[in-house]
Symmetry: C2
Subunit: 157 residues, 2 copies
């Protein structure tokens, strides 16, 4: 997987050059205490995060709405290459329990660009409808805001 | 995963004690030349098989109907423990391209039972409808017949 690889069907993509080395960006995606600081777009919060960062390991990140309603995000890691690449999906809640709805597979790459990090998130869906729904839910704005928060966090760790 | 683990939701299961050591049963599931000899229930045939047996590796097995129509089965391996365990799914056609329809995840275990092999296939679906459809398509009969063929093959390799 490189930036030049053509997009898969039903894919949404975000890429940004982040002014931090890639190990910090990778840590922000994998360490619970860091995830809680950036994962949900403000004024949403992330009260809890648990990660078992290995292929087949589970991830449970809870996002809380401004009204106080919790939204648990369950998934598993499919691929883990430290400081380089993470692949997650919500198609399973643990290895290998199918989830109620396989919605997306997230492929994250962290590439060195002269000491900065080329951060790319490819979010693939199983159907055109799910991709359209995700876009309509505000994928670009939401992931953009979260990436602002991620960027602010890695600047100070 | 052990035999005593409770069944997941939407699961179909087949288990059989096969009179062969587990490395032979594992080989029959992973080596193309062996797969072609048992994978499709007679009078169907398996004209071709390609396997990249590692987590994230692809599998493409073509089954041919008695009328000569080919049915390609594409999937990927999620977990590989030689002679012990294989996990496959058709939710991806390669790592990590979502398939047109995530239908099942197959968890195969090969356990030693006094020199014989306790072979267990757990087939998990994402929905109750898919499980019911698979059962109606003849899961028990079909997988049973194929397992007869697998058993006959491993007796002579």
């Amino acid at each position: 997987m490189t930036k030049t690889e053509p997009a898969a069907e039903h894919e949404l993509m975000l890429t940004r050059l982040i002014d931090a080395p890639r190990d910090k960006v990778f840590r922000a995606w994998t360490e619970p205490e860091l995830i809680k600081q950036w994962f949900a777009p403000h004024p949403w919060t992330t009260p809890s995060a648990a990660t078992d960062v290995r292929p087949g390991g589970s991830s449970l990140i809870v996002m809380r709405s401004p009204e106080g309603k919790d939204f648990p995000n369950r998934g598993i890691y499919l691929e883990v290459v430290k400081n380089e690449r993470l692949v997650l999906t919500d198609a399973y809640t643990s290895a290998w329990i199918p989830s109620a709805k396989p919605f997306m597979t997230v492929i994250l790459t962290f590439e060195d660009e002269g000491g900065k990090t080329r951060y790319t998130a490819r979010v693939r869906h199983w159907t055109a409808e799910d991709k359209a729904a995700h876009e309509k839910m505000g994928f670009h704005e939401g992931w953009g805001l979260c990436t602002d928060q991620l960027e602010a966090l890695v600047a100070k760790i």
